[in-house]
Symmetry: D2
Subunit: 257 residues, 4 copies
Amino acid sequence: MTVRTGEQVLVYHSERAKFLVTFQPGKRISTHLGEIELPETLEWGAALQSNIGKTFYVLRPSTSDVAMKVKRTTTIIYPKDAGWMMLEAGIGAGSRVLEVGTGSGSLTIMLARVVGPEGRVYSFERREEFLKNAISNVERAGLADRVEFALRDPSVDGFGVTDIEAAFVDVPEPWTLVSPVFDALMGGGAWISLSPNVEQVKATWKALKERGFVRIKAVEILEREILIREHGVRPRERMISHTGYILSARKVLPPSG
Amino acid sequence: MTVRTGEQVLVYHSERAKFLVTFQPGKRISTHLGEIELPETLEWGAALQSNIGKTFYVLRPSTSDVAMKVKRTTTIIYPKDAGWMMLEAGIGAGSRVLEVGTGSGSLTIMLARVVGPEGRVYSFERREEFLKNAISNVERAGLADRVEFALRDPSVDGFGVTDIEAAFVDVPEPWTLVSPVFDALMGGGAWISLSPNVEQVKATWKALKERGFVRIKAVEILEREILIREHGVRPRERMISHTGYILSARKVLPPSG
Amino acid sequence: MTVRTGEQVLVYHSERAKFLVTFQPGKRISTHLGEIELPETLEWGAALQSNIGKTFYVLRPSTSDVAMKVKRTTTIIYPKDAGWMMLEAGIGAGSRVLEVGTGSGSLTIMLARVVGPEGRVYSFERREEFLKNAISNVERAGLADRVEFALRDPSVDGFGVTDIEAAFVDVPEPWTLVSPVFDALMGGGAWISLSPNVEQVKATWKALKERGFVRIKAVEILEREILIREHGVRPRERMISHTGYILSARKVLPPSG
Amino acid sequence: MTVRTGEQVLVYHSERAKFLVTFQPGKRISTHLGEIELPETLEWGAALQSNIGKTFYVLRPSTSDVAMKVKRTTTIIYPKDAGWMMLEAGIGAGSRVLEVGTGSGSLTIMLARVVGPEGRVYSFERREEFLKNAISNVERAGLADRVEFALRDPSVDGFGVTDIEAAFVDVPEPWTLVSPVFDALMGGGAWISLSPNVEQVKATWKALKERGFVRIKAVEILEREILIREHGVRPRERMISHTGYILSARKVLPPSG
């Protein structure tokens, strides 16, 4: 299969030399392992030689590649967390979801890939410089068609959308958003937030309980890399130990009558 | 928003009393906490009383709920692993993916939700009784339209599909599938397998290397539940420590020339 | 080497059939795998047959065996935590240490083995029924000669000892003991506490800082069992995820002059 | 309490500025935070000022401090592992233990502190430059009186000691020592080894089983640091994920008769 002009490819030599680029015939990529010229017709999986003889491969970028390679103005959400969050939220192709704050757009990209062209990501950010960077990251990933960005503080102004399936909250004070998110969600819809500190999780848990959310739970996801070599298999010596705690909850309606 | 007839809902009282059911107006659900009668018009998020006065809520099922509630004939893939696997594979709405073996259909369901109605899951299983059960689980989840099941041993007969974006392999001897999966994948496409034992991972890693796959890596994902109570926050005392090692790799083409 | 009368031995068939007993020539042990009669002269490592033909071995008990096999009236401190705590405290043969509360005496036993006959463990407990049980557990382990027990609430009455090398604190409100422990410790001596909840750790940390302790740090220790079988190595599926957080600190003197 | 001449003290400003020194009255210590002069009479816990006004404290070194501060010619055993190993082995004041290989002497120091002056550590190393460095590390820690070093390959020449309570094995090929360790151990005594790779653990496990050891088990110990700050508690972002797998087993005697 050939890569279409404008598609993102991962030009890969190793984990330390990999480049996420938008394909243009004849494009030149400068790397510390030499210059690579993309051919007129580029096959997925093709092997390319740099001008100093290093081999690079044309790979389909993983969602992780796209999300982790954004230009960062903030800390980003890791795929180990995002994968769990999206499955817990129950979203898929066609879902309408809400995100606050946009940050660098890393989670925006992961959400946008999962909801697909028929879905919708409403993404809110109150700092203009973050939003501009995120928009450009999402555009570069070719996913802007399904994302609506808003420069707004929803803890003050609300979201202006309703019947949302799931809300993804990554702000320092998630508890300020519990009430506006409640209003935006459909009945039974999911709150998902991520916070590094225990105190944030506890304060948010309290606010969720008070607002009537149910099925509140918290988890932490750890990813451990395993080194496989002919002479021996073992976990890598160092790992990311902590990114954040994930808190999830469900909106329910007050008993009628 | 109202639940449509035939949609799956999670009728939820607590983690120990939750029921994944297909909505039919007037349907009765018998539980150890009393009988619940679904109304003619069911609102998402609605509170229902059982005949002994217990409150249940009508929640959108998470992907985890749907995947974990399948009728099991085999061990299943946990959402903590599945989320990472799907993001690493880079799949989303519209993707064409391959699964072997189908098992109880738990991963099939997660894949089917992510690829959406425009995508395609080709799912292979060689034991007929497993396949029958999995098909009925996927049908109950309302996702059969995008899944093609095959009763076949692809290590012998191949897959009969090509240009696949990602292959998900959950069989006891994954190395037997390295060559047929290579043939089925598009260039740059992803191999993702899950195995409980180190020996399986190492043998598969060797086979992948020999067949020319690149970017081979292995990880383990751990999920730790955090208990939040007014008087104290701490991780739960016990956890699932190990489900399996995830191995991922990419197909590349031989240098042309 | 032969077991001396009165020594503790572990009569071991498997992890599910192991018995910590005090050796007496001719003693009979009744188990669910038959009755075992200890011979007049018992060799360390000897194989014994029960009257239904099961084989048991005479093993040196690990500190873990002795500490975990106490009659429990409280939760106990696990060896994974105790080992770290004792090394962090820097104690060894001859050390003088303080323990509060005694609980079931599990940590008392571990401390008593490490400080040896030349050392001293001052162990404080305010509930009489706990103390009685703990004393009998420590006596059974043959270690009572180096332990001084006191039925007292040191948060009210102090410890009545000074120049202690390290204090081990395992009570629900460790912060109430910060000041009396400061008075009991030698300069540079170690505070070591263990608490299950984050809130306890934080409150204790605050109290330690206010009282002038330095080098305050908190860790969590996890133990993961690895299953080794001919056909496959993997971590056991379930594990103890959390017992408690360990907090350590050092007493320093105010600047003189 | 005053520090005796020749005792080791930890001169501590912070985790990044701490110095393990042997006390001599009037000794000067040069650091990147200024020069410190030790007084004629040094109190444990005393606050000292460097010549640029930084405060250092005179702390009792933890076993971890002494063991981790050795001059390293090899990787060392971490306290998280050593604590578990010593408790599993059941050693304490007065124990006679065996160590192979000595490496940098880090575990030798921890063992020597625990067995005390009445105990004995027999430590074997086959590379002379390692042994010399380890001896000087153990001497600096003031523990040489209870350690007997031997420059020898015990897989060839055996240990020349018997009735040992526990053997600690930290060499690349532990299985080569199973038979000599069996001969050196008392009945019921403990084998404890540490290896980074799964393959090493499995090969050693096989050799232990063949030689008749029982109660073979493997664990992995993880230490996670928790950051406590007024504004938030969370695990530190990065951690040591893997040092090694610990394998333990017990020697038993063949059935007599």
